[in-house]
């Protein structure tokens, strides 16, 4: 990784090389990258090489001149550096006047006039780059990197708890429905039954109690979980990172919902549940099983 990407017009190559030499010489020792025969060999995709060089450098140094303002390549490099959030340093090497588009692109860049004293400009540049003039930007970027790290963990925890709670709730509801179906032909029939009919009402009350616990969980814990999830997600979005794992969790959640549905309505599973209920002594289940065998 180099410190500086130097964007220059080919007509200003000697000046650009001079700036590079001054920056790289001790004690400044600022490492520089500029597109030339040494950095881009025949057969290379030079556009990718340049883009990669801009991405990997810490700052972009724009050698401003009449030639570079007219250069399409320089324009592209400068725009790319801006879009990649690279701090831009500008060294003016002639007495050209900024055109409109460069006035726009360089509005946040300090323009140093090197037409008089190259050495002083190189010194100022090196100090700025080395001492972290853009420390605030680096600090903010570190903060975003931290957000990304700490956004993912709370988000994952919140999503896991919610998904698990939903899965358990659905399994529990399936359990309750199985219990009702094992003991009656319909919900209205079940409502009229009591323990005198051989129905284990205590067990049913216990199942209802658990359902109540689930409802209470979603009411009291659901909202804080949602807030945690949303805040963490916003942090990750701010860090330009979406959690692809949430897509996997959603798929897992959907699969877990679909699987019990098939089980619930499959004939084979219904018969197995009925036989199990009959073994446990549920009178309606025994009656129903006897009726089914008689019909067969």
């Amino acid at each position: 990784m180099n410190d500086v990407f130097i964007s220059y017009s080919s007509k200003d190559v000697e000046t650009a090389k001079k700036i590079k030499r001054l920056l790289e010489s001790p004690p400044r020792s600022v490492s520089c990258w500029m597109a030339n025969d040494a950095t881009i060999t025949g057969g290379d995709d030079f556009r990718s090489r340049i883009a990669e060089a801009i991405r990997s450098c810490k700052v972009c140094l724009f050698v401003l001149s009449e030639n570079s303002m007219k250069s399409d390549w320089c324009s592209r490099e400068l725009s790319f550096a801006i879009l990649e959030n690279k701090p831009i340093y500008t060294v003016k090497i002639d007495d050209s006047t900024l055109d409109d588009i460069h006035t726009f692109k360089l509005s946040c860049s300090q323009i140093m006039d090197a037409s008089v004293n190259f050495d002083a400009v190189a010194e100022a540049l090196a100090i700025n780059i080395k001492n972290g003039k853009d420390a605030e930007i680096e600090k903010a970027q570190r903060s975003i990197a931290n957000s990304r790290r700490f956004g993912f963990l709370p988000y994952t925890i919140a999503v896991c708890i919610k998904r698990t709670a939903w899965i358990l709730l659905f399994v529990h509801l399936a359990n309750m429905i199985s219990f009702i179906r094992a003991n009656a032909n319909s919900l209205s029939e079940f409502v009229t039954l009591s323990s005198r009919d051989g129905v284990d009402m205590q067990r049913f009350e216990f199942l209802c109690g658990i359902l109540g616990a689930f409802i209470a969980f979603f009411v009291f814990v659901g909202t804080p979980l949602k807030i945690l999830e949303t805040t963490s997600l916003r942090k990750m979005v701010a860090a330009s990172e979406m959690d692809s794992a949430s897509a996997l969790y959603s798929l897992y959640w959907i699969f877990t919902f679909v699987h019990p549905i098939f089980g619930l309505f499959s004939k084979k599973k219904s018969l197995e549940r009925l036989e199990r209920s009959a073994e446990l002594g549920y009178a309606p289940a025994v009656k129903r099983l006897a009726k089914m065998k008689k019909d067969e």
Binding site: N85, F104, A140
Partner: protein, 129 residues
């Protein structure tokens, strides 16, 4: 009155929504659609011309906007062109020093919902009576 919406790449969806809401309220906007940052063409000329032609500059602030070079360039350029500025805070993050310096005493709208933000903007500007 034409509004220009400045946004960081990661706030693209919010910016797009704000643009839509403003248009639904009858406001004209100059919105440079950069997608989520992957652009095939250089947007700089469009951005520059849009800011130059706008009557009001809306800056969507977020943690990403604090460090986005393009957002800062847009803001500085708008300031240099003496465009009135409104800052919409997308989250609870602090506004960085360079941006604070540029926005000065510009109006700051805290994020409520995008719909309410759009309504507040047009109400302030008197676009919709």
């Amino acid at each position: 009155m034409i509004f220009y919406i400045s946004y960081a790449n990661s706030d693209y969806l919010m910016a797009q929504k704000l643009n839509r809401e403003l248009r639904l309220l009858g406001a004209a906007t100059a919105f440079v659609d950069r997608g989520d940052g992957e652009m095939l063409v250089d947007p700089m000329v469009d951005i520059m011309q849009s800011i130059s032609s706008c009557d009001h500059f809306i800056f969507l602030h977020s943690e990403s906007a604090n460090t986005a070079m393009l957002s800062q360039i847009e803001l500085t350029y708008a300031k240099n062109r003496k465009k009135p500025i409104t800052v919409v805070k997308m989250g609870s993050g602090k506004i960085s020093t360079p941006i604070k310096f540029e926005v000065g005493d510009a109006r700051v709208i805290g994020k409520n919902s995008i719909e309410n933000v759009a309504k507040e903007i047009v109400k302030i500007m008197g676009v919709v009576e």
